[in-house]
Amino acid sequence: MALDPGVLAELESIVGREHVRHEQGEVAPYARDATPLFSSPPDAVVFPARTAEVAAVLRLATSHRVPVVPRGAGSNLCAATVPLQGGILLVLTRMDRVLEISPAELLVRAEPGATTATVAEAAAAKGLLFAPDPGSRTVSTVGGNVATCAGGLRGLKYGVTRNYVLGLEVVLPTGEVIRTGGRLWKDVAGYDLTRLLTGSEGTLGVITEVTLALLPMPATASTGVAYFSSLADAGRAVTQVLAHGVVPATLEFLDRTCIGAVEDYARLGLRTDAGALLLFGDDGEPDAVERNLTRMGELCADEGALEVTVAKEVAESEALLAARRCSLPALSRLNTLTVLEDVTVPRPRLAEMVDRIEAVAARHELLIGTFGHAGDGNLHPTAVVDVRDPAAAERTHAAFAEIFAAALELDGTITGEHGVGAAKLPYLRDRLGDDQMALTKRIKAAFDPAGILNPGKTGS
């Protein structure tokens, strides 16, 4: 489906000719994001520089019924930016300024295309912390972070992106520009549209400015590692840590498969005889950090840890965290198709969920390694298969369908932080139920009567 030449000409007059791409080769690189197996090119790629340009593009699209898919860095893992129905891909990376940092109000205002790392560095330069830290922070944009409600390694203590969004400037699909929330930490006037838009995955409006809350930068941070013979033991240790009133900044785990893969890949000297590895860490004042780390180490030992090490200096702490950072690279090198998911269960059921995943993997003869955020109950089961083996791809689909069902059985969810996109839309009803699905569609229609914004995703 090619774009009407008239529409193309209008797009060019809105943003300037050099900011529109429509040749086949130019749009081909935008056919996909970080999600494997999904690919569909847009008809045109448009790079707006201003809110007014975004509004004009959306008005045009609504009047001509042309699909529009907003895109930041295209690092999402749920095919949220794949233009399934073609149309316009609206890329916001030209709007990448950090507009303001207000230490007195503890907030930052930025355009949506600024990367997470840029915003965090700008805040750090003023001694402030932007807490959400998705693994993709060097690439992902803050607009994308808000639109997916991104999480990260610090979720347990600091929450996720939603806890930091104070206000948004949003262009509605029909072209109106609204500002929700603002610089206020308290504001209950009207529905909380800021929260509704956070995690809306580009289906309700296009975010053109974000106001995000900052925190004072913690003085120091440190990390420890504990090995357990099984994930069940590690799970009990997590429960004990939290039951003793310690809320660590980091509480990450690797299962046996991941430990082996990471060790083969990075040779960090991990114990490959262990069934689980637990990374725990905290930040704050040095004496508090040391106290918490010692306490967590003791609690792990009480729960039967095979070995506990607490970093004595920053460099050592970094080395320990490397194990977690290497998990995805190490697993992805085992084969050519890496499918990463992020089911989430109530914290006490973590070990149970990992058992279920292992059983599913065995049943479908798949290699699935699981790592994730133990403190949040957020797991990343990662299947690695041969991309050239269609049967294996089929088995992977079947296995993940069972894994989603298992998570729901354990009162969990199909996605903790990566989003629904096109990839998990088929499972959304299982999570939300018929009534919420119907309400979701009515909300979508209220924002986007023509149904042009990111069709084929949530709300469609």
Binding site: R21, E23, Q24, G25, E26, A28, P29, Y30, A31, R32, D33, A34, T35, P36, L37, F38, S39, S40, P41, F47, A73, G74, S75, A79, V82, L84, V91, T93, R94, T115, A117, S136, T138, V139, L328, P329, S332, R333, T336, L337, T338, V339, E341, V387, R388, P390, A393, T396, H397, F400, A401, A422, A423, K424, P426, Y427
Partner: protein, 434 residues
């Protein structure tokens, strides 16, 4: 995970996808499209367009492989040439994608016949002829020793380096007299591999490996990485790596105006990204001078092999911020570890009439060992207060034209950097008087 595999599966070889056999599947399949390479890529920084990013280029390669795009698609042509080939995308890639190798396959396919940039054809043709390479070097004597000692270690002379910067190999042999430097050695073929003739490039690399058995020591980062790819990593030692083995014992000191010299480094992309050699040159510089790390030392200077000749404008856009950094750093010298970078920096700094001099690492170390740098100063009717300096790093002879080749669309390149351009009466932009 989706319930159904989308019809437009772009992974070549994945269910139903065609394959043209241009790329080794195991290389192309590696990319997980995470985008981690985007912030590292200089061309993406310029364009902010996915097609000029490593991830986008790999998607383009996949589209070429599967036939989604025609072979003569203009974007394919443009992007295979706009890419610097700097491989900055490799160390940051979590999946271990060997982008440099993919690019070589891409260009070998894309630049067949008439699609090959004519200048690339001329350059690669020049160096493929051994006799011509040897002639080039005789304008200004590079190092050479008579008989080949079979077991090495051999000093590789490098075809462009021996012509442009013959003092580099002389300095290398002053530092390490045991290095054997036969004058009749050929070209390693890196130039060919990077410019659309991968097979010839590899054949030439293997041939050089036979000519110089045992360990090959090279002063050119680009050649080192290519040779390591062809002959195996253990056969190749870049010079700083070779020197670093036996510590920094008695390297001497380089002084300027009675104080220790301040020296910065420009990494060689292939040396750093392809061979993971970057500590060694820093340590060697720090042993003889005050080392100053440039903020963008690891980023490509825009020379990128033949790039500065094929795409002079883009090359200068990449170079400009680096020159700013060098001038802001307050250094006496900036050190290169690859002849292309050396040439790029010499030309760029000269164009700005900067006082910072460019040296190859071997030249810096030899100067420290000899207790100073031989300065060849020419005063050329300069403006009052401006001292025109033509240092020993001036490219010589025939190949000086390569340096300052006038390019029709690039007025700034004409004559800039030549001694006569330093005549203060005219700006470098209007001068070409050779």
């Amino acid at each position: 995970m989706s319930a159904e595999v989308s019809p437009g599966v772009d992974a070549p070889g994945a269910a139903g996808a065609a394959a043209r056999g241009i790329f080794p599947p195991e290389l192309l399949d590696r990319c997980i499209s995470c985008g981690f390479c985007l912030p590292a890529c200089p061309t993406y920084a310029l364009s902010k367009d996915e097609k000029s990013s490593p991830r986008g280029r790999i998607t383009l390669m996949r589209a070429l492989e599967t036939g989604v795009l025609e072979e003569d698609d203009p974007t394919l042509r443009e992007e295979s040439s706009f890419c610097l080939g700097c491989r900055a995308c490799e160390p940051v890639c979590p999946a271990g994608v060997q982008y440099g190798e993919l690019l070589e396959h891409w260009r070998s396919h894309q630049w067949q016949g008439r699609h090959r940039p004519p200048l690339a054809r001329v350059l690669t043709n020049v160096v493929v002829r051994n006799w011509l390479v040897r002639r080039l070097g005789t304008f200004r004597g590079h190092a050479r020793t008579a008989a080949t000692s079979p077991q090495g270690p051999h000093l590789m002379l490098g075809c462009f380096e021996r012509a442009l910067f013959p003092a580099v190999s002389r300095a290398a042999r002053r530092l390490r007299p045991e290095l054997d430097a036969p004058g009749n050695q050929g070209c390693c073929g890196a130039l060919h591999a990077h410019n659309g003739d991968l097979e010839l490039g590899r054949t030439m690399g293997r041939r050089l490996g036979e000519q110089l058995p045992g360990t090959i020591v090279t002063t050119a980062g680009g050649c080192a990485a290519h040779l390591a790819g062809v002959l195996g990593r253990d056969r190749v030692k870049e010079f700083s790596e070779y020197l670093a083995r036996d510590g920094s014992a008695s390297l001497g000191e380089l002084r300027v105006d009675g104080r220790r010299a301040r020296v910065a480094l420009q990494d060689s992309c292939h040396l750093r990204n392809g061979m993971d050699v970057w500590r060694e040159p820093r340590e060697l510089i720090a042993a003889v001078a005050d080392y100053v790390e440039l903020p963008g030392a690891a980023q490509c200077c825009g020379s990128a092999g033949t790039y500065s000749l094929l795409r002079p404008k883009d090359s200068r856009r990449v170079l400009a911020p680096k020159l700013d950094q060098i001038e802001a750093a307050g250094v006496d010298y900036v050190v290169a570890v690859n002849p292309g970078c050396q040439r790029q920096l010499v030309t760029g700094l000269r164009r700005r009439r900067s006082r910072v001099r460019v040296l190859h690492l071997t030249e810096l170390l030899a100067a420290a060992q000899d207790g100073g740098l031989p300065r060849r100063r020419l005063r050329l009717g300069a403006r009052p207060g401006r001292r025109a300096e033509v240092p020993a790093d001036e490219p010589a002879g025939l190949t000086a034209h390569l340096n300052d080749r006038p390019l029709p669309d690039d007025p700034g390149a004409a004559g800039a950097g030549r001694p006569d351009a330093l005549d203060g009466s005219a700006g470098p932009d209007e001068v070409h008087r050779s």
